[in-house]
Symmetry: C2
Subunit: 413 residues, 2 copies
């Protein structure tokens, strides 16, 4: 008998509860093991009384410490008190499954060390890509590969907003409002729209992919709050979509890692990731290019990933942990591949800027767009690296006055 | 120390050898276990002498039976003698990893039972989708789901041929010849172009997905040998691509399973799977739609999957086996979802056929295409099921003479 406690009974917690109850027989047939939900921690038990069978519920964490529990599912979200609870349970030699990317991005290494010390598991497949199996395939199935790069749409909220802006010509504010109404975005959307959520997920993915700790706070992060109709329009004219990409790659200098809006060719797999879906491409030296696509959030997709972790624990009780990674990666955020860029240069004198651009860049195409106030140059240039590009822009700025520059990498696939 | 024997030193075998040697240190760091290649079985040792270090080679299978071996990688292909060897090794309590879909589709259940009896593993991730992690994600990560349907491009050879025909306006014979020259198709391409290879892979996938044995020989299989320029042209006019899809789904009556050329909307993920790539979509009741994409064949993609299986065995020595499935599925091949179809009807009197179609189908659009000899009606009709469609076609045929009918399902996603 495997006893499972669930911390939290919100969207994720209740999804996990439902999925466990639905699969009791299947797991018994498959593993010979009976699973049961031993206890569910809720914030305020009075809210739930009368609404459901309350015999499993408690709002006292201490009750869980006395219960006969093998696996704890943390579905509370946020850092505290989840962090303290998980530490306590790991020290009690309970396996832990969590979907909490904030917590794993911040305290993952410490918690994994603690799990190792206590010879129990800490699994967090649902923390990246929601229902998409990505952490396990990456760390197990692709173990023979040196991972070269990871590139993905890891945040469904921003992808929903960008899809609305692109496909239905909405403004950012309007699209955000609809996302909030539909429950895709929170009242305070900062973590999503500023790209922090994607950066946390990229940190988890990259740490597993490259075997060195990629600190999420060192990841260069540009959100979508500045994306406007001109960006969308110019992307369309290039037969491109605009996506908030979380990208990392293994380089001689260290790990390149950044979250930023990018122009992606409409023919690419990643451009087809619409609305609240996630898509992750991985390149390994042996396997080549791979792509994983699915629902990155939501009650049952998340519960599906949590449940996969539970089954893994039941089936692999003797198994060694692979993590944690202690060595820190050298992280930098300047794109260093030869690429085409779309630049929107706000300036006082368009003609001067255009002349300067034409002189400095051998490959240089001007768009007809001029921005809302007619004071912009929109241009496509090729550069060996972002560093080189910045040098060129500075050169222009030294001679002619540039008011603002917006840069988009343009990717073909 | 884990000793590994490799049966075969062709493309897959030599790729596995290379990947093992490259990852010895990584596996030691990760699992604490040292791996080494103990022996490699080749057909004729004289062919290899002088070309490489021959100390590991043997052409005598008996030598492997005496060697200190924990894991056997079967990379010979074909049914015999691979089948006999694997049985022998499983009975000797050796773990086995294979990429051999022919063998697994034919003898998978028996071999899995034998592995179970001997408490060793039989892994075959590389047998479906090449380097794409699909069997493990399906059976482990998605364990909480009831899988509703599986739909994929599982054969790189036919996808390469169809891509050439679609993108470069080649004829079938010319595209096949190029595929053969590039090594994507064998001298005798029957197994690929008739859809048998895809049917074998669909059988393996479906058996895991639905927990019932889906016999590959019961899968309705239509290959690509009859695809011609008119099909391609009509697909293009509908903004569709033509792909050889392997599809199965869980239905009240049993398991629908078929391999057949299908019109897929150009905007779909599956239509973006080009050349020798594979793409597999899976729908689970909890997780929703998922999609996996990558290289379905080739030296290192296949070796990558084999290596993942080796690591799984090293890390999970105590683990229970999940398979085999003993209950047989009721398999049928008539599409029973409401869909649009493209029909090419060869006939003597086009006008009569068009009138009959217009009378029988409430939704009916005619294409301008008339076939090479001008004796065809190309029409798009909607039908509740393939059975209903066949009834309608028979009705028409009873009144007016139909010489031949070619049917394509048209899928929107």
């Amino acid at each position: 008998m495997t006893g499972i406690a669930i911390l939290g009974n919100g969207t994720v917690g209740s999804g996990v509860e439902e999925l466990i109850n639905k699969n009791i027989k299947k797991i018994k047939d498959r593993t010979g093991e009976e699973i049961r939900i031993a206890k569910i921690l809720v914030r305020d038990i009075n809210k739930h009384l009368g609404q459901r069978d309350a015999s499993l519920l408690t709002d006292k964490i201490e009750e869980l410490f006395n219960e006969d529990i093998d696996i704890v599912v943390e579905a509370m979200g946020g850092i505290n008190p989840a962090y303290d609870y998980i530490k306590k349970f790991l020290n009690m030699k309970k396996h832990v499954v969590t979907a909490n990317k904030d917590l794993i991005a911040k305290h993952g290494e410490e918690l994994l060390s603690l799990a190792n010390k206590n010879q129990v598991k800490l699994h967090f497949e649902a923390s990246v890509g929601g229902g998409i199996p990505i952490l396990k395939p990456l760390s197990e199935c692709l173990a023979g590969n040196e991972i070269q790069c990871v590139k993905g749409i890891l945040n469904g909220t921003t992808n929903f907003i960008l899809s609305k802006m692109y496909n239905e010509n909405m403004g950012y504010d309007e699209a955000l409002k609809i996302a909030q109404e539909l429950g895709f975005a929170e009242a305070n959307p900062e973590s999503d729209v500023m790209g922090y959520d994607a950066a946390r997920k990229l940190s988890i993915l990259s740490t597993i992919a490259y075997g060195k700790k990629v600190d999420w706070q060192e990841i260069r992060t540009i959100g979508i709050t500045e994306i406007d109709e001109t960006d969308i329009q110019c992307a369309k004219e290039e037969d491109c979509n605009i996506k908030l990409l979380a990208m990392s790659s293994k380089e001689d200098r260290g790990i390149y890692a950044a979250v930023r809006p990018v122009l992606v060719s409409r023919g690419s797999q990643i451009a087809k990731v619409e609305d609240e879906f996630n898509g992750i491409s991985v390149e390994g030296d042996a396997v080549g290019d791979m792509f994983f696509y699915g629902k990155g959030a939501g009650k049952f997709p998340t519960a599906s990933a949590v449940f996969g972790d539970i089954v893994d624990i039941i089936e692999n009780k003797g198994r060694k942990m692979l993590f944690p990674v202690r060595e820190k990666a050298e992280v930098y955020g300047l794109w260093n591949k030869k690429s085409e860029w779309m630049l929107r240069i706000k300036c006082k004198n368009r003609v001067e800027i255009m002349c300067a651009l034409g002189e400095l860049f051998s490959k240089c195409r001007f768009s007809n767009a001029k921005g809302k106030d007619g004071d912009e140059v929109v241009v496509f240039v090729e550069s060996e690296s972002e560093e080189m590009l910045d040098v060129m822009i500075n050169k222009i700025n030294n001679k002619n006055s540039i008011l603002a520059v917006k840069k988009f990498i343009k990717l073909d696939n």
